[in-house]
């Protein structure tokens, strides 16, 4: 660029005065009304229980959208439930990262079956899974049920099958699990809380 002395002085003066004005605080930028928007403002809250360990902390899952017909909801954030007496809002690092489990490509989403001797899992339906569990339980119970002991006393025991219950159950579902298992005569019952 070619310029004479006079033009050079003009440009220099303009530069000094504009940067001087900015330095003196006359900058054109306005402060943003809300620099960071609260990301959960219009999400749907759903209570749940952390599935990891037996402590069973309460969590709140925040999902996208209002639940309207045309919206496919999706969980966007999970944090502790402050009203849950177990954890009162706190979560351990695993629980705090629950969203990553929900979104994980390796997450188990349907029943799978591995046949004896096989090295492969095959996908089955829930109906097939329940059918098979019920069939095997019934067969085993019919075969091994102990109605009375040596002295002839009625005991109604089913000793050949055990039941592993969930530790994440509520009081009510724990009560029901217990009732169903004991009604069948099953003695060996444990929960994940013992692990």
């Amino acid at each position: 660029m070619k310029m004479n002395r006079r033009q050079f002085f003009k440009i220099g003066a303009a530069g000094v005065s504009s940067s001087g004005l900015a330095m003196l605080g006359f900058s054109p930028r306005e402060a943003l009304a809300e620099a960071r928007a609260f990301k959960l403002a219009r999400t749907t809250e759903t209570r749940s229980t952390c599935p990891y360990c037996s402590v069973s902390c309460g969590v709140i899952m925040y999902s996208l959208g209002s639940g309207a017909k045309n919206v496919k909801g999706s969980i966007i954030h999970i944090e502790g439930d402050p009203d849950n007496p177990v954890n009162r809002g706190t979560l351990c690092p695993k629980g705090a990262g629950l969203l990553d489990m929900v979104k994980s490509p390796n997450r188990l989403k349907h029943p799978e079956y591995r046949a004896p001797g096989s090295d492969k899992w095959q996908r089955i339906t829930w109906d097939e899974a329940f059918e098979r569990i019920a069939r095997l339980m019934k067969d085993d119970r019919d075969q091994n049920f102990v109605q009375s002991n040596d002295k002839g006393q009625v005991v109604n025991r089913w000793l050949s099958t055990g039941f592993l219950a969930s530790s994440a159950s509520s009081n009510e579902s724990g009560y029901l699990t217990h009732k169903v298992i004991r009604t069948l005569g099953m003695v060996a019952m444990d929960t994940q809380a013992r692990i």
Partner: protein
């Protein structure tokens, strides 16, 4: 502070015009990190990355429990583990949650040349407004705790915002909420100081004679404080400075010289104007009118 965040800004970087503030009843807030209660589980780190939608690359084990190895644009808080030998020969594991201290007199804000890129709210939170960040990295030099980090992706500086978005709607920061041992507490600064003193008394009863609250006055006090078992030796907690201060060069250029330079600049503009008024423009001889050499 409701969601009127812009109206509760008390300091803006590179801006000399005072920020108008109508409300003066905004309480000062603080986070108190009780190092003696921390078990180093890193739930705060996870909660932070979840809330702020950050995810760090899976890195390498560097031989210590620190994971990731350092703060980054994607890691705004980090557990730093230090093994210290006690006087009686036993080992002591000191675990410090590192991150922005939210200084009352923030060095980053002082050093920042981009108008409005760093703001301090009335409640004490120091926040980076990334839209205005020019990525110069001066905030890193200005910080007495070496906290801000430049992102390699967008070349802007990032650090803990003390979840200003959560605090704005009356919630606690994500790390505070998740902490399973209640090692991180949140409330007004007065309440946190009072709670901290209570914890210090308890620690002293248990034999930690030098226990204390870390609220360094060199930066005007901080809105993130620690309860330390050994407040006489903060440097034992992986580089926590004993007397943090804004670097003298930052203080000189941005503190002392800036108003003088601004005044000088203003005066010379005024002088030039007066000269123009009294003497008028310099008349050029006919011979030199076309920019020819003399």
């Amino acid at each position: 502070m409701a969601t009127l965040q812009s109206l509760d800004v008390v300091e803006r970087s590179a801006t000399t015009v005072p920020t108008p503030q109508a409300r003066d009843g905004v309480p000062k807030l603080a986070k108190l990190i009780d190092v003696a209660k921390c078990i180093g589980c890193k739930a705060c780190q996870v909660a932070c990355s979840q809330w702020n939608d950050l995810s760090e690359e899976v890195g390498q084990n560097v031989g210590v429990y620190d994971n990731p190895a350092d703060l980054s644009a994607n890691t705004w808080t980090l557990m730093r583990f230090a093994e210290q030998q006690r006087a009686d020969g036993g080992l002591e594991w000191l675990i410090r949650k590192d991150g922005c201290m939210h200084c009352e007199d923030p060095g980053c804000l002082k050093a920042c040349p981009a108008p409005g890129a760093i703001v301090k709210y009335a409640n004490g939170i120091v926040d980076f407004i990334s839209e205005n960040c020019i990525g110069c990295g001066y905030c890193i030099k200005g910080c007495p705790f070496d906290v801000p980090r430049l992102s390699e992706r967008d070349n802007k500086a990032y650090k803990c915002s003390l979840c200003s978005d959560r605090v704005a709607v009356g919630l606690e920061p994500a790390c505070v909420k998740t902490c399973p041992t209640s090692a991180i507490k949140f409330g007004t600064k007065d309440d946190m100081l009072e709670y901290g003193e209570k914890r210090v008394t308890q620690l002293k009863e248990r034999g930690f004679q030098n226990a204390g609250v870390y609220d360094p006055q060199g930066v005007g006090g901080t809105h993130v404080m620690y309860v330390l078992q050994h407040a006489d030796k903060p440097e034992n907690y992986v580089g926590l400075p004993a007397e943090p201060q804004i670097a003298s060069m930052v203080g000189f250029w941005k503190g002392l010289s800036k108003p003088w330079a601004a005044a000088l600049l203003g005066l010379s503009v005024l002088g030039a104007f007066l000269h123009y008024v009294t003497h008028g423009p310099n008349e050029v001889d006919e011979d030199h009118k076309n920019g020819e050499e003399v």
